[in-house]
Amino acid sequence: MEPILLIVCVLAGGVLASLGVHLLPVGGAPAAMGTATGVATGTVMLMLGAAMCGLFTASSVAAFSDNILLVSLSGGVGSWLMMGVTMLMANLLYVFGTGIVPVSGRVDVDPITGESQKEYRTPQCDGHGVPNVSYISGMMGALLGGFGGAIMYFGLLNYANFEPTMAGVAATGIFVSNAIIAAYNIGGTIEGFQDPKFKRLPKALLTCGVISLLCGVLVWVVANLGGLGGTM
Protein backbone atom coordinates (compact mmCIF):
# COMPACT_ATOMS: atom_id res chain seq x y z
CA MET A 1 0.00 0.00 0.00
CA GLU A 2 2.81 2.40 0.92
CA PRO A 3 4.40 2.55 -2.57
CA ILE A 4 1.05 3.50 -4.10
CA LEU A 5 0.42 6.17 -1.47
CA LEU A 6 3.93 7.54 -1.99
CA ILE A 7 3.48 7.79 -5.76
CA VAL A 8 0.02 9.34 -5.35
CA CYS A 9 1.46 11.97 -2.96
CA VAL A 10 4.31 12.88 -5.33
CA LEU A 11 1.97 12.91 -8.35
CA ALA A 12 -0.59 15.12 -6.59
CA GLY A 13 2.17 17.41 -5.34
CA GLY A 14 3.68 17.85 -8.80
CA VAL A 15 0.38 18.54 -10.53
CA LEU A 16 -0.71 20.99 -7.83
CA ALA A 17 2.66 22.76 -8.05
CA SER A 18 2.15 23.22 -11.78
CA LEU A 19 -1.40 24.51 -11.29
CA GLY A 20 -0.21 26.86 -8.55
CA VAL A 21 2.50 28.36 -10.76
CA HIS A 22 -0.04 29.13 -13.48
CA LEU A 23 -2.22 31.04 -11.01
CA LEU A 24 0.54 33.31 -9.68
CA PRO A 25 0.77 36.87 -11.03
CA VAL A 26 4.37 36.83 -12.27
CA GLY A 27 5.68 39.97 -13.91
CA GLY A 28 9.35 39.08 -14.13
CA ALA A 29 11.86 41.81 -14.99
CA PRO A 30 9.30 44.12 -16.72
CA ALA A 31 7.27 44.29 -13.50
CA ALA A 32 10.32 45.68 -11.68
CA MET A 33 10.13 48.66 -14.06
CA GLY A 34 6.34 48.94 -13.71
CA THR A 35 5.95 47.80 -17.32
CA ALA A 36 3.99 44.60 -16.63
CA THR A 37 1.41 43.44 -14.11
CA GLY A 38 2.45 41.11 -11.33
CA VAL A 39 5.17 40.48 -8.82
CA ALA A 40 8.62 41.60 -9.96
CA THR A 41 10.46 38.30 -9.98
CA GLY A 42 10.79 35.06 -11.91
CA THR A 43 8.14 32.36 -11.88
CA VAL A 44 10.21 29.61 -10.32
CA MET A 45 11.77 31.89 -7.70
CA LEU A 46 8.43 33.23 -6.54
CA MET A 47 6.78 29.83 -6.34
CA LEU A 48 9.83 28.33 -4.68
CA GLY A 49 9.96 31.13 -2.11
CA ALA A 50 6.31 30.58 -1.26
CA ALA A 51 6.64 26.79 -1.22
CA MET A 52 9.70 26.97 1.05
CA CYS A 53 7.71 28.98 3.58
CA GLY A 54 4.99 26.36 3.37
CA LEU A 55 7.52 23.55 3.70
CA PHE A 56 8.91 25.11 6.87
CA THR A 57 5.49 25.23 8.52
CA ALA A 58 4.53 21.80 7.18
CA SER A 59 7.66 20.25 8.64
CA SER A 60 6.96 21.92 12.01
CA VAL A 61 3.40 20.62 11.98
CA ALA A 62 4.47 17.14 10.81
CA ALA A 63 6.47 16.90 14.05
CA PHE A 64 3.28 16.91 16.12
CA SER A 65 0.53 15.78 13.74
CA ASP A 66 0.34 12.67 11.56
CA ASN A 67 -2.76 13.71 9.63
CA ILE A 68 -1.87 14.11 5.94
CA LEU A 69 -4.59 16.70 5.31
CA LEU A 70 -3.60 18.90 8.25
CA VAL A 71 0.11 18.82 7.41
CA SER A 72 -0.56 19.63 3.74
CA LEU A 73 -3.03 22.38 4.58
CA SER A 74 -0.52 23.90 7.01
CA GLY A 75 1.99 24.03 4.17
CA GLY A 76 -0.60 25.54 1.85
CA VAL A 77 -1.53 28.22 4.36
CA GLY A 78 2.18 28.99 4.92
CA SER A 79 2.59 29.70 1.20
CA TRP A 80 -0.71 31.62 1.10
CA LEU A 81 0.52 33.96 3.84
CA MET A 82 3.90 34.46 2.16
CA MET A 83 2.29 35.42 -1.15
CA GLY A 84 -0.33 37.56 0.55
CA VAL A 85 2.20 39.67 2.45
CA THR A 86 4.59 39.88 -0.52
CA MET A 87 1.94 41.06 -2.99
CA LEU A 88 0.45 43.54 -0.52
CA MET A 89 3.86 45.05 0.24
CA ALA A 90 4.69 45.17 -3.48
CA ASN A 91 1.48 47.12 -3.99
CA LEU A 92 2.38 49.48 -1.14
CA LEU A 93 5.67 50.14 -2.94
CA TYR A 94 3.93 50.72 -6.25
CA VAL A 95 1.32 53.03 -4.74
CA PHE A 96 3.39 55.01 -2.23
CA GLY A 97 6.92 54.64 -3.65
CA THR A 98 6.24 55.20 -7.34
CA GLY A 99 2.73 56.68 -7.46
CA ILE A 100 1.36 53.96 -9.74
CA VAL A 101 -2.21 52.57 -9.67
CA PRO A 102 -2.25 48.73 -9.74
CA VAL A 103 -3.95 47.76 -13.00
CA SER A 104 -4.32 44.68 -15.19
CA GLY A 105 -2.83 44.68 -18.66
CA ARG A 106 -4.84 41.79 -20.10
CA VAL A 107 -8.45 42.55 -19.15
CA ASP A 108 -10.37 45.82 -19.38
CA VAL A 109 -12.60 45.07 -16.39
CA ASP A 110 -11.53 43.31 -13.20
CA PRO A 111 -13.60 40.06 -13.28
CA ILE A 112 -13.92 39.94 -9.47
CA THR A 113 -14.45 43.53 -8.32
CA GLY A 114 -15.81 44.86 -11.63
CA GLU A 115 -13.41 47.84 -11.55
CA SER A 116 -12.53 49.32 -14.92
CA GLN A 117 -8.83 48.94 -15.80
CA LYS A 118 -8.27 50.44 -19.22
CA GLU A 119 -8.25 54.16 -18.40
CA TYR A 120 -5.78 53.69 -15.51
CA ARG A 121 -3.21 51.92 -17.69
CA THR A 122 -0.05 53.71 -18.87
CA PRO A 123 0.39 53.52 -22.67
CA GLN A 124 3.08 51.13 -23.92
CA CYS A 125 2.81 49.18 -20.68
CA ASP A 126 1.35 45.74 -20.10
CA GLY A 127 -0.30 46.90 -16.88
CA HIS A 128 1.45 47.58 -13.57
CA GLY A 129 1.13 46.61 -9.91
CA VAL A 130 -0.98 43.76 -8.54
CA PRO A 131 -4.70 44.42 -9.16
CA ASN A 132 -7.30 42.65 -7.02
CA VAL A 133 -8.03 39.85 -9.49
CA SER A 134 -4.33 38.95 -9.75
CA TYR A 135 -3.99 39.19 -5.98
CA ILE A 136 -6.76 36.68 -5.35
CA SER A 137 -5.50 34.44 -8.15
CA GLY A 138 -2.01 34.56 -6.61
CA MET A 139 -3.34 33.66 -3.18
CA MET A 140 -5.16 30.63 -4.61
CA GLY A 141 -2.06 29.61 -6.56
CA ALA A 142 0.13 29.83 -3.47
CA LEU A 143 -2.36 27.79 -1.45
CA LEU A 144 -2.42 25.03 -4.08
CA GLY A 145 1.34 25.11 -4.66
CA GLY A 146 2.13 25.04 -0.95
CA PHE A 147 -0.37 22.22 -0.45
CA GLY A 148 1.37 20.30 -3.25
CA GLY A 149 4.84 20.82 -1.77
CA ALA A 150 3.70 19.80 1.70
CA ILE A 151 1.85 16.68 0.55
CA MET A 152 5.02 15.61 -1.27
CA TYR A 153 7.04 16.19 1.90
CA PHE A 154 4.53 14.18 3.94
CA GLY A 155 4.65 11.29 1.45
CA LEU A 156 8.45 11.22 1.42
CA LEU A 157 8.63 11.44 5.21
CA ASN A 158 6.03 8.81 6.08
CA TYR A 159 5.69 6.47 3.11
CA ALA A 160 9.33 6.46 1.93
CA ASN A 161 10.65 6.81 5.51
CA PHE A 162 13.12 9.52 4.57
CA GLU A 163 14.84 11.44 7.34
CA PRO A 164 13.16 14.93 7.68
CA THR A 165 15.96 16.99 6.11
CA MET A 166 16.34 14.49 3.26
CA ALA A 167 12.57 14.52 2.68
CA GLY A 168 12.72 18.33 2.53
CA VAL A 169 15.55 18.30 -0.02
CA ALA A 170 13.84 15.65 -2.18
CA ALA A 171 10.46 17.44 -2.04
CA THR A 172 12.15 20.71 -3.03
CA GLY A 173 13.89 19.00 -5.95
CA ILE A 174 10.72 17.47 -7.36
CA PHE A 175 8.85 20.72 -6.76
CA VAL A 176 11.44 22.77 -8.64
CA SER A 177 11.38 20.48 -11.67
CA ASN A 178 7.60 20.84 -11.90
CA ALA A 179 7.75 24.60 -11.38
CA ILE A 180 10.31 24.92 -14.18
CA ILE A 181 8.11 22.96 -16.60
CA ALA A 182 5.23 25.30 -15.72
CA ALA A 183 7.51 28.33 -16.14
CA TYR A 184 8.44 27.19 -19.65
CA ASN A 185 4.75 26.92 -20.46
CA ILE A 186 4.11 30.44 -19.20
CA GLY A 187 7.14 31.94 -20.93
CA GLY A 188 8.01 34.85 -18.66
CA THR A 189 4.92 36.63 -17.44
CA ILE A 190 1.35 35.72 -16.50
CA GLU A 191 -1.31 37.68 -14.64
CA GLY A 192 -3.39 34.88 -13.15
CA PHE A 193 -6.43 32.91 -14.26
CA GLN A 194 -7.76 35.85 -16.33
CA ASP A 195 -4.68 35.80 -18.56
CA PRO A 196 -5.12 34.14 -22.00
CA LYS A 197 -1.92 32.17 -21.29
CA PHE A 198 -3.79 30.30 -18.55
CA LYS A 199 -5.51 28.30 -21.31
CA ARG A 200 -2.20 26.52 -21.92
CA LEU A 201 -2.58 24.84 -18.53
CA PRO A 202 -3.64 21.29 -19.63
CA LYS A 203 -0.37 20.65 -21.49
CA ALA A 204 1.68 21.62 -18.43
CA LEU A 205 -0.49 19.50 -16.14
CA LEU A 206 0.02 16.46 -18.37
CA THR A 207 3.79 16.97 -18.58
CA CYS A 208 4.10 17.56 -14.84
CA GLY A 209 1.95 14.49 -14.17
CA VAL A 210 4.30 12.30 -16.22
CA ILE A 211 7.40 13.79 -14.61
CA SER A 212 6.00 13.48 -11.10
CA LEU A 213 5.02 9.88 -11.75
CA LEU A 214 8.58 9.17 -12.82
CA CYS A 215 9.91 10.97 -9.72
CA GLY A 216 7.53 9.01 -7.50
CA VAL A 217 8.71 5.67 -8.91
CA LEU A 218 12.33 6.80 -8.61
CA VAL A 219 11.87 7.82 -4.98
CA TRP A 220 10.30 4.46 -4.22
CA VAL A 221 13.22 2.65 -5.87
CA VAL A 222 15.75 4.80 -3.99
CA ALA A 223 13.96 4.27 -0.69
CA ASN A 224 13.94 0.52 -1.24
CA LEU A 225 17.60 0.45 -2.13
CA GLY A 226 18.18 1.89 1.33
CA GLY A 227 20.73 4.34 2.58
CA LEU A 228 18.47 7.38 2.79
CA GLY A 229 17.09 7.10 6.23
CA GLY A 230 15.63 3.73 7.04
CA THR A 231 13.84 0.60 6.05
CA MET A 232 10.46 0.13 4.47
Partner: protein, 310 residues
Protein backbone atom coordinates in the same frame (compact mmCIF):
# COMPACT_ATOMS: atom_id res chain seq x y z
CA UNK B 1 10.24 32.09 26.46
CA UNK B 2 9.19 30.61 23.13
CA UNK B 3 7.48 33.83 22.14
CA UNK B 4 10.60 35.81 23.07
CA UNK B 5 12.75 33.68 20.77
CA UNK B 6 10.10 34.01 18.07
CA UNK B 7 10.22 37.81 18.31
CA UNK B 8 14.02 37.75 18.15
CA UNK B 9 13.74 35.70 14.95
CA UNK B 10 11.28 38.25 13.55
CA UNK B 11 13.66 41.15 14.23
CA UNK B 12 16.55 39.23 12.67
CA UNK B 13 14.36 38.50 9.64
CA UNK B 14 13.51 42.17 9.28
CA UNK B 15 17.19 43.16 9.33
CA UNK B 16 18.16 40.29 7.01
CA UNK B 17 15.67 41.11 4.28
CA UNK B 18 16.33 44.84 4.47
CA UNK B 19 20.04 44.32 3.96
CA UNK B 20 19.42 41.71 1.30
CA UNK B 21 17.41 44.20 -0.72
CA UNK B 22 19.96 46.98 -0.20
CA UNK B 23 22.73 44.60 -1.26
CA UNK B 24 20.84 43.88 -4.45
CA UNK B 25 20.63 47.66 -5.00
CA UNK B 26 24.29 48.39 -4.30
CA UNK B 27 25.40 45.47 -6.44
CA UNK B 28 22.59 45.83 -9.01
CA UNK B 29 21.48 42.23 -8.94
CA UNK B 30 18.19 40.81 -10.12
CA UNK B 31 15.48 42.20 -12.38
CA UNK B 32 16.29 45.96 -12.68
CA UNK B 33 19.82 44.99 -13.71
CA UNK B 34 18.36 44.15 -17.11
CA UNK B 35 18.32 47.92 -17.69
CA UNK B 36 21.95 48.36 -16.62
CA UNK B 37 22.80 45.54 -19.01
CA UNK B 38 20.74 47.12 -21.79
CA UNK B 39 22.00 50.70 -21.30
CA UNK B 40 25.29 50.52 -23.28
CA UNK B 41 23.43 48.82 -26.13
CA UNK B 42 21.25 51.91 -26.54
CA UNK B 43 24.25 54.26 -26.27
CA UNK B 44 24.02 54.94 -22.54
CA UNK B 45 27.55 54.26 -21.28
CA UNK B 46 27.33 54.25 -17.48
CA UNK B 47 29.21 53.83 -14.19
CA UNK B 48 26.80 51.32 -12.68
CA UNK B 49 27.94 48.09 -11.07
CA UNK B 50 26.65 45.22 -13.20
CA UNK B 51 26.33 42.09 -11.10
CA UNK B 52 23.64 39.65 -12.14
CA UNK B 53 25.14 36.39 -10.90
CA UNK B 54 21.74 34.73 -10.98
CA UNK B 55 18.30 35.45 -9.60
CA UNK B 56 18.46 36.66 -6.02
CA UNK B 57 16.73 33.60 -4.62
CA UNK B 58 19.25 30.98 -5.82
CA UNK B 59 22.15 33.36 -5.10
CA UNK B 60 21.12 33.90 -1.49
CA UNK B 61 20.26 30.23 -1.10
CA UNK B 62 23.88 29.53 -2.03
CA UNK B 63 25.49 32.11 0.30
CA UNK B 64 23.24 31.19 3.22
CA UNK B 65 23.72 27.47 2.71
CA UNK B 66 27.51 27.90 2.60
CA UNK B 67 27.31 29.96 5.80
CA UNK B 68 24.96 27.41 7.36
CA UNK B 69 27.18 24.44 6.48
CA UNK B 70 30.32 26.12 7.86
CA UNK B 71 28.50 27.14 11.05
CA UNK B 72 27.02 23.64 11.37
CA UNK B 73 30.45 21.99 11.04
CA UNK B 74 32.04 24.39 13.52
CA UNK B 75 29.18 23.87 15.99
CA UNK B 76 29.50 20.10 15.70
CA UNK B 77 33.21 20.51 16.53
CA UNK B 78 32.22 22.29 19.73
CA UNK B 79 32.66 25.92 18.67
CA UNK B 80 30.59 28.59 20.40
CA UNK B 81 27.64 29.84 18.28
CA UNK B 82 28.80 33.46 18.65
CA UNK B 83 31.97 32.42 16.83
CA UNK B 84 30.60 29.78 14.47
CA UNK B 85 27.78 31.87 12.93
CA UNK B 86 29.88 34.96 11.98
CA UNK B 87 32.68 32.74 10.59
CA UNK B 88 30.10 30.93 8.46
CA UNK B 89 28.74 34.25 7.20
CA UNK B 90 32.26 35.52 6.37
CA UNK B 91 32.94 32.43 4.25
CA UNK B 92 29.57 32.88 2.50
CA UNK B 93 30.45 36.48 1.74
CA UNK B 94 33.92 35.56 0.46
CA UNK B 95 32.18 33.43 -2.17
CA UNK B 96 29.78 36.30 -2.84
CA UNK B 97 32.62 38.77 -3.50
CA UNK B 98 34.38 36.31 -5.83
CA UNK B 99 31.16 35.95 -7.82
CA UNK B 100 30.66 39.74 -7.81
CA UNK B 101 34.08 40.38 -9.35
CA UNK B 102 33.75 37.71 -12.03
CA UNK B 103 30.18 38.71 -12.85
CA UNK B 104 30.91 42.43 -13.14
CA UNK B 105 34.15 42.11 -15.07
CA UNK B 106 32.80 39.37 -17.32
CA UNK B 107 29.60 41.19 -18.17
CA UNK B 108 31.21 44.56 -18.70
CA UNK B 109 34.00 43.05 -20.82
CA UNK B 110 31.33 41.52 -23.04
CA UNK B 111 30.01 45.04 -23.70
CA UNK B 112 33.24 46.20 -25.29
CA UNK B 113 31.57 46.44 -28.68
CA UNK B 114 29.20 49.03 -27.18
CA UNK B 115 32.19 51.01 -25.86
CA UNK B 116 31.38 50.41 -22.21
CA UNK B 117 34.67 50.63 -20.22
CA UNK B 118 35.47 48.67 -17.06
CA UNK B 119 35.95 51.41 -14.46
CA UNK B 120 38.32 49.97 -11.87
CA UNK B 121 37.29 52.50 -9.21
CA UNK B 122 33.68 51.36 -9.66
CA UNK B 123 34.78 47.73 -9.28
CA UNK B 124 36.93 48.28 -6.17
CA UNK B 125 34.61 50.84 -4.60
CA UNK B 126 31.54 48.63 -4.66
CA UNK B 127 33.00 45.38 -3.38
CA UNK B 128 33.09 46.44 0.26
CA UNK B 129 29.48 47.75 0.37
CA UNK B 130 28.34 44.55 -1.37
CA UNK B 131 30.22 42.37 1.10
CA UNK B 132 29.03 44.29 4.17
CA UNK B 133 25.38 44.43 3.16
CA UNK B 134 25.49 40.77 2.14
CA UNK B 135 27.26 39.85 5.39
CA UNK B 136 24.45 41.35 7.47
CA UNK B 137 21.85 39.41 5.50
CA UNK B 138 23.75 36.11 5.62
CA UNK B 139 24.60 36.53 9.31
CA UNK B 140 20.98 37.14 10.28
CA UNK B 141 19.71 34.20 8.19
CA UNK B 142 22.29 31.86 9.68
CA UNK B 143 21.37 33.08 13.16
CA UNK B 144 17.67 32.46 12.42
CA UNK B 145 18.49 28.94 11.19
CA UNK B 146 20.57 28.30 14.33
CA UNK B 147 17.83 29.52 16.68
CA UNK B 148 15.11 27.55 14.88
CA UNK B 149 17.06 24.32 14.76
CA UNK B 150 17.78 24.67 18.49
CA UNK B 151 14.57 26.40 19.55
CA UNK B 152 13.54 23.61 21.88
CA UNK B 153 16.92 23.37 23.59
CA UNK B 154 17.11 27.14 23.99
CA UNK B 155 13.62 27.42 25.47
CA UNK B 156 13.84 24.36 27.67
CA UNK B 157 11.63 21.90 25.70
CA UNK B 158 13.93 19.79 23.56
CA UNK B 159 11.03 18.24 21.58
CA UNK B 160 10.45 21.61 19.91
CA UNK B 161 13.73 21.61 17.97
CA UNK B 162 12.92 21.98 14.29
CA UNK B 163 13.25 18.63 12.47
CA UNK B 164 15.39 20.17 9.69
CA UNK B 165 19.15 20.50 10.08
CA UNK B 166 20.70 23.98 10.27
CA UNK B 167 21.97 24.10 6.64
CA UNK B 168 18.53 23.08 5.33
CA UNK B 169 16.88 25.89 7.31
CA UNK B 170 19.51 28.32 6.01
CA UNK B 171 18.71 27.12 2.48
CA UNK B 172 14.95 27.57 3.01
CA UNK B 173 15.25 31.09 4.39
CA UNK B 174 17.95 31.98 1.85
CA UNK B 175 15.56 31.13 -1.00
CA UNK B 176 12.69 32.96 0.69
CA UNK B 177 14.67 36.09 1.55
CA UNK B 178 15.94 36.25 -2.04
CA UNK B 179 12.47 35.76 -3.50
CA UNK B 180 11.04 38.53 -1.31
CA UNK B 181 13.94 40.92 -1.85
CA UNK B 182 13.62 40.38 -5.57
CA UNK B 183 9.85 40.71 -5.77
CA UNK B 184 9.30 43.63 -3.40
CA UNK B 185 12.41 45.78 -3.07
CA UNK B 186 13.33 45.78 -6.75
CA UNK B 187 10.35 47.94 -7.59
CA UNK B 188 11.74 50.97 -5.81
CA UNK B 189 15.08 50.62 -7.61
CA UNK B 190 13.75 49.57 -11.02
CA UNK B 191 10.66 51.72 -11.39
CA UNK B 192 11.72 54.82 -9.51
CA UNK B 193 15.44 55.31 -8.98
CA UNK B 194 16.64 53.92 -12.32
CA UNK B 195 14.28 56.22 -14.25
CA UNK B 196 14.21 59.27 -12.04
CA UNK B 197 14.31 61.77 -14.90
CA UNK B 198 11.11 60.25 -16.39
CA UNK B 199 7.57 61.26 -15.39
CA UNK B 200 6.60 60.19 -11.86
CA UNK B 201 3.41 58.22 -11.25
CA UNK B 202 3.25 56.06 -14.37
CA UNK B 203 4.59 52.69 -15.47
CA UNK B 204 7.92 52.95 -17.27
CA UNK B 205 7.14 52.67 -20.98
CA UNK B 206 9.00 50.27 -23.22
CA UNK B 207 10.63 53.18 -25.11
CA UNK B 208 12.39 54.26 -21.90
CA UNK B 209 13.99 50.87 -21.40
CA UNK B 210 17.76 51.03 -21.25
CA UNK B 211 17.73 54.83 -20.97
CA UNK B 212 18.55 54.89 -17.28
CA UNK B 213 19.28 58.00 -15.20
CA UNK B 214 23.05 58.37 -15.27
CA UNK B 215 23.57 61.59 -13.33
CA UNK B 216 23.30 61.82 -9.58
CA UNK B 217 22.46 64.70 -7.26
CA UNK B 218 26.16 65.51 -7.56
CA UNK B 219 28.30 64.11 -10.36
CA UNK B 220 27.86 60.87 -12.24
CA UNK B 221 25.69 58.26 -10.61
CA UNK B 222 27.07 55.00 -9.31
CA UNK B 223 25.32 52.29 -7.33
CA UNK B 224 26.24 54.02 -4.07
CA UNK B 225 23.90 56.88 -4.95
CA UNK B 226 21.12 54.36 -5.41
CA UNK B 227 21.42 52.47 -2.17
CA UNK B 228 20.95 55.49 0.08
CA UNK B 229 17.78 56.41 -1.78
CA UNK B 230 16.33 52.90 -1.65
CA UNK B 231 17.26 52.63 2.05
CA UNK B 232 14.59 55.27 2.75
CA UNK B 233 11.62 53.21 1.59
CA UNK B 234 12.31 50.15 -0.59
CA UNK B 235 14.70 48.46 1.86
CA UNK B 236 12.68 48.89 5.07
CA UNK B 237 9.43 47.80 3.45
CA UNK B 238 11.14 44.70 2.07
CA UNK B 239 12.46 43.95 5.54
CA UNK B 240 8.98 44.43 6.92
CA UNK B 241 7.63 41.94 4.37
CA UNK B 242 9.93 39.15 5.50
CA UNK B 243 9.51 40.09 9.15
CA UNK B 244 5.73 39.93 8.85
CA UNK B 245 5.87 36.58 7.05
CA UNK B 246 8.08 35.05 9.75
CA UNK B 247 5.90 36.62 12.46
CA UNK B 248 2.65 35.27 11.01
CA UNK B 249 4.10 31.82 10.26
CA UNK B 250 5.60 31.26 13.71
CA UNK B 251 2.92 33.07 15.65
CA UNK B 252 0.02 31.09 14.22
CA UNK B 253 1.84 27.78 14.79
CA UNK B 254 2.67 28.74 18.39
CA UNK B 255 -0.81 30.05 19.10
CA UNK B 256 -2.23 26.82 17.66
CA UNK B 257 0.03 24.83 19.98
CA UNK B 258 -1.03 26.92 22.97
CA UNK B 259 -4.76 26.98 22.33
CA UNK B 260 -4.85 23.38 21.09
CA UNK B 261 -3.42 22.21 24.42
CA UNK B 262 -0.16 20.86 22.92
CA UNK B 263 1.90 23.26 24.99
CA UNK B 264 3.14 23.81 27.67
CA UNK B 265 3.37 20.12 28.63
CA UNK B 266 3.74 18.53 25.14
CA UNK B 267 0.43 16.65 24.96
CA UNK B 268 0.95 14.53 21.85
CA UNK B 269 -2.78 13.80 21.58
CA UNK B 270 -3.53 17.50 21.08
CA UNK B 271 -1.32 17.79 17.99
CA UNK B 272 -4.14 17.70 15.44
CA UNK B 273 -6.17 20.35 17.28
CA UNK B 274 -3.06 22.57 17.39
CA UNK B 275 -2.63 22.17 13.62
CA UNK B 276 -6.29 23.02 12.95
CA UNK B 277 -6.13 26.22 15.01
CA UNK B 278 -2.91 27.21 13.26
CA UNK B 279 -4.52 26.70 9.83
CA UNK B 280 -7.64 28.67 10.73
CA UNK B 281 -5.52 31.53 12.11
CA UNK B 282 -3.46 31.57 8.91
CA UNK B 283 -6.54 31.63 6.68
CA UNK B 284 -8.00 34.49 8.73
CA UNK B 285 -4.79 36.54 8.40
CA UNK B 286 -4.78 35.83 4.64
CA UNK B 287 -8.36 37.08 4.25
CA UNK B 288 -7.41 40.24 6.17
CA UNK B 289 -4.53 40.72 3.71
CA UNK B 290 -6.92 40.40 0.73
CA UNK B 291 -9.15 43.07 2.29
CA UNK B 292 -6.04 45.21 2.84
CA UNK B 293 -5.15 44.95 -0.86
CA UNK B 294 -8.68 45.89 -1.93
CA UNK B 295 -8.46 48.98 0.29
CA UNK B 296 -5.01 49.98 -1.05
CA UNK B 297 -6.08 49.56 -4.70
CA UNK B 298 -9.30 51.48 -4.09
CA UNK B 299 -7.42 54.30 -2.34
CA UNK B 300 -4.89 54.56 -5.17
CA UNK B 301 -7.59 54.64 -7.85
CA UNK B 302 -9.48 57.37 -6.04
CA UNK B 303 -6.42 59.42 -5.07
CA UNK B 304 -4.49 59.24 -8.34
CA UNK B 305 -7.39 58.91 -10.80
CA UNK B 306 -7.22 57.69 -14.42
CA UNK B 307 -4.09 58.12 -16.54
CA UNK B 308 -3.86 61.69 -17.86
CA UNK B 309 -0.53 61.83 -19.75
CA UNK B 310 0.04 61.20 -23.42
Amino acid sequence: MLFAWMLLIVVLALIACMFEDLESDVGSQSNPNSQVQLAPQVGQVNRFFNKAISGEAPAYAMYCTIAGVIAFVLLSKGAHPLLAIPIGAVVGEAVHVIFSVTAHVGRTAAQKRFEQPIYLDVLYGHLLPIATHGFMATLCITAIAYIQSNLGTLSGMSQLNHPFALPMLAFIWGITVGAIGSSTGDIHYGTEREFQDRPFGEGKRVVYHGKITRYAECGIRTQKDIVYFCAKYGGPITGLTFGLIILFENWRTLVGMMLGGYLPNIEAAAGNMAAIIGIVAGLAIGIALIVGNVVVVKWARKRYGPFVGE
